[in-house]
Symmetry: C3
Subunit: 163 residues, 3 copies
């Protein structure tokens, strides 16, 4: 697989991007941010929190524009990466990204969920390189917890050394 | 992992809680209630059926209040546990809970999906103890099959003896 | 397991049904159509594209009727099978279907998501026989990318020879 040829670690890429992983987001209720099972990490649904504050509320296509929503998807997926990293000994314990789901709280007339989700997809490819490509679903939902405009969840593979 | 220290089986905990697993819910269409694959059990989306009757209909935040919705999430996840148990030789064939998704049929103004989903999360922790913690997504959707207020799906790990 | 008794390959069944797998759908954005991880294939969310054209738009229960929506679910899941097949050396590299999620863009009054999803479930059973049964969730969402009436995603098991 060609991803084996890519030697640059995710931690190095994060540095090159000028990004630091945020603190692991505190679940808003009775669950874990992420869990390792049989070599795969499943994250909880992650919202665009920055330093404990939800940075935007409202429906995409109404109160929130699509470009801003793509930025929010990027913020939320970085939280998801942080959550996943926390159960495999850091971001370099993630072998590759597998699946991304992006829920977009959408005005019923808004049909640009794919472009919103690209904010998350592109961040994953910037951080993980060829190992950051993934299968993805983007869905427009009625409303999200706390009136968040986006929510993302990830499945990633853990490195063999991590489990 | 500290869950190894917890010796109380889920069947004993169910008894202590005064709960019996419901009969495995009959799928409302052409699919299976649960399926074992590579040591993980994937359940179908489960609705709050009791004895074959959907106990409530309507949107949460409109016809259905949030406390009632949390009870419905608890009922639905008990059906999901029953479905999972049915493919691993009973509830003690479940090694641990991995992932919970809670879909909440929501009035567009309702943003309390996390509290609704806690009805399911807390039941899982009561039944499975430390092995019942899980990653979770809670999402507010437009409408659910049969006008159900909630739908839940589970991924759990099977005990090695079960597969 | 009784599925072991079924000797008819999916490629043969497709021929008997007069069906050809469509070309692997091109993702509408920055992601992969499907990805193999630890013996499981995760597909991206798939829309009812035929020859690169989304064959219908609108909400089910409003612009799109339920029977037509079930046909669209069938088209979308055939695209998902094609995507999964592409990463395991063809459709016979799929050992069995595991999980199907069917998102139905729904008028808030439409509650027949299960019948819509049956369009996908029944196709899987026609193509894969007893190995096509699966766990399933059907959900009514506010809106889908490109105003698609349905979106489906699959998890399947790869044959041991495929990974």
């Amino acid at each position: 697989m060609n991803e084996e040829l890519d030697e640059t670690s995710a931690s190095v890429r994060l540095g090159e991007l000028g990004l630091a992983l945020p603190a692991v987001p505190t679940p808003v209720a009775a669950y874990l941010p992420a869990l390792l099972s049989s070599g795969q990490v499943f994250t909880a649904g992650q919202l665009p929190f920055v330093d404990g504050t939800l940075v935007e509320v409202g429906k995409v296509g109404a109160e929130v524009g699509p470009e801003r929503a793509a930025e929010l998807a990027r913020i939320a997926v970085l939280n998801a990466v942080s959550a996943a990293a926390s159960v495999v000994g850091g971001v370099d314990g993630i072998r590759r990204v597998v699946k991304l789901v992006v829920y977009v709280a959408s005005d019923p007339s808004f049909t640009g969920q794919a472009a919103v989700a690209n904010g998350a997809s592109e961040l994953l490819q910037q951080v993980f390189g060829p190992r950051g490509t993934h299968a993805r679903s983007a869905v427009g939902v009625a409303v999200l917890p706390l009136n968040s405009p986006v929510e993302v969840e990830l499945i990633v593979e853990a490195s063999a050394a991590s489990f």
